[in-house]
């Protein structure tokens, strides 16, 4: 498997890996470890604006890299169900093979779950 430089950069540094706690943190998760891909986001929100975001991922390098990028780039933006970029754009940005693009939907679902407060931490 070949990975783009950006994918390797975010996979290797995995900035933003971890959890957040507190009353202003919303948690959302999607996927399943037993099925090979699981992603969780913790998002700290103040006044509708993302103050901080962390992620956990049991997943392939592409998924870890994109989750790390999302956690980093969501900060300072309105907190809403949509990702900072569309799945299509993220696929292209990280050169995700077409066979693996479905995994990015798990990232989107985890983010949406956090936005919905469905799995409040």
């Amino acid at each position: 498997m070949n990975y783009s430089a950006l994918t390797l950069q975010y996979f290797e540094t995995a900035k933003g890996a971890g959890v957040l706690t507190g009353p202003d943190v919303r948690r959302g998760a999607a996927g399943s470890r037993t099925h090979g891909t699981w992603v969780q986001f913790d998002v700290q929100v103040d006044g509708g604006i993302v103050q901080a975001a962390r992620f956990l991922a049991f997943a392939c390098p592409h998924t870890i890299a994109v989750a790390a990028w999302v956690a980093e780039h969501a900060v300072g933006h309105d907190f809403r169900a949509a990702l900072p970029e569309t799945v299509q754009n993220l696929s292209e940005r990280f050169a995700v093979p077409v066979e693996k693009r479905g995994r990015l939907l798990i990232i989107e679902d985890a983010w949406a779950a956090a936005a919905a407060g469905a799995l409040r931490g």
Partner: protein, 396 residues
């Protein structure tokens, strides 16, 4: 990193570097000032010289596995040898029976021909190993049917290094009378004693590139022994066009390739026992180092395996990420099909009872001649760091 600045190579079960002595011998068979003749050319000295080298190589391979030179049929590798054995027996004995016995843990070079025969009307029984990867001889006995014509069981498993009791299986097949025993021994030579005569197999596949020889050459040993209850094994050839190799494998014999295989096997046979002991010590050092990590599971029965292989699963780690995290510093393989965008857990580890996730999160370490203590210590450090980091990322 190794002293050369390249990743530490611990994938000797996939392939080995060609021994420089082997490469030199091969080079002597290629150019005008060497023995470049066609070994089948009987009309001049060029052919005679090349033919003599081919027969010397045949004798070297035979001697290294305690076979007779006449039992060695050159092929392009173990895959072709497996195909020749399986299809060759199936076709020759098709009027006697159409049942084959093999194991779920065989290499694809055995499983895929068996599946193709199933598509063509043969019946195949796939034996399941125990949790250590061992196929017990009584399983073979129980699987034999009146019309069984072939049993194909590998000697050393390519993922776990587990050794099978071939001699007992051969006795069972001999007692059955109609079942011929084929053994894929691609991983055996140079790693454990291989005695074709003593093991009693009818057919045995060999590969050169696992033994510091070149890729692209192997052999099928075809027993010429008569047995009490049956005649010696027969094969139907799969390719035609020259009658070489007793009509079993048509095509000009590649002198340089077989010369390389012959010398590689001779060198392997001449290796001191202390080398296997050295490898065993290194593997134990590797295992002890990795076992210090929690959630580390050894795959395959350590008491029934060659010392050159160690297969380990790591809990709480995704397989593709693990391999990616170490690949800059280590050359190892994983239970997952890492060349595919879609994960495919190791069917060998699944047959041992590992679940999909643990089958994927495995690393196969293959140790070889140039593996050093420093390499092992590097591997332990790199894997420990990667596993710890990925567990942190996954919250495991």
């Amino acid at each position: 990193m190794s002293a050369t600045g390249r990743p530490v190579y611990l994938d000797y079960a996939a392939t080995t570097p060609v021994d420089p002595r082997v490469a030199a011998a091969m080079a002597q068979c290629l150019t005008l000032d060497g023995e470049f003749g066609n070994p089948a050319s009987a009309s001049h000295s060029f052919g005679d010289a090349a033919g003599a080298l081919v027969e010397t190589a045949r004798a070297q391979v035979a001697a290294s596995v305690r076979a007779a030179p006449a039992e060695v049929v050159w092929t392009s590798g173990a895959t072709e040898a497996n195909n020749l054995a399986i299809f060759g027996v199936a076709r020759y004995y098709r009027e006697y029976g159409r049942h084959i016995v093999t194991a779920r843990t065989e290499h694809k070079a055995v499983l895929d021909p068996c599946r193709e025969l199933e598509r063509r009307g043969w019946r195949v029984t796939y034996l399941a190993p125990d949790s250590g990867g061992v196929i017990h001889p009584d399983q073979v006995a129980a699987a034999l049917q009146a019309d069984t014509v072939l049993v194909s069981i590998m000697h050393v498993n390519n993922e776990t290094g587990v050794l099978q009791d071939i001699a007992s299986m051969a006795a069972i097949c001999a007692n059955h009378g109609g079942a011929r025993l084929h053994v894929d021994a691609a991983q055996s030579v140079g790693k454990c004693a291989v005695d074709f005569t003593h093991l009693g197999a009818d057919l045995m596949s060999l590969s050169a590139h696992k033994v510091y020889g070149p890729k692209g050459v192997g052999a099928l040993l075809v027993s010429r022994r008569e047995r009490e209850r049956r005649t010696r094994v027969q094969l139907t050839a799969l390719q035609f066009g020259g009658g070489q190799e007793l009509g079993l494998r048509a095509g000009t014999v590649a002198t340089h390739q077989v010369v390389g295989m012959g010398l590689a096997f001779a060198l392997a046979a001449a290796a001191p026992e202390s080398e296997a002991e050295r490898i065993a010590v290194l593997r134990e050092r590797l295992w002890q180092g990795l076992a210090r990590l929690s959630g580390t599971l050894r795959n395959g029965d350590a008491g029934h395996s060659v010392p050159h292989l160690l297969n380990v699963s790591f809990e709480g780690v995704e397989g593709e990420s693990l391999l990616t995290a170490v690949r800059g510093q280590l050359a190892v393989s994983t239970g997952a099909a890492c060349t595919s965008a879609l994960r495919e857990p190791s069917y060998v580890l699944r047959a041992l009872g590992r679940d999909d996730i643990l089958s994927e999160s495995s690393l196969r370490f293959g140790l070889g001649r140039d593996t050093s203590e420093r390499d092992i210590d590097t591997a332990v450090a790199v894997v420990a760091q990667a596993v710890s980091r990925l567990r942190k990322v996954s919250g495991s």
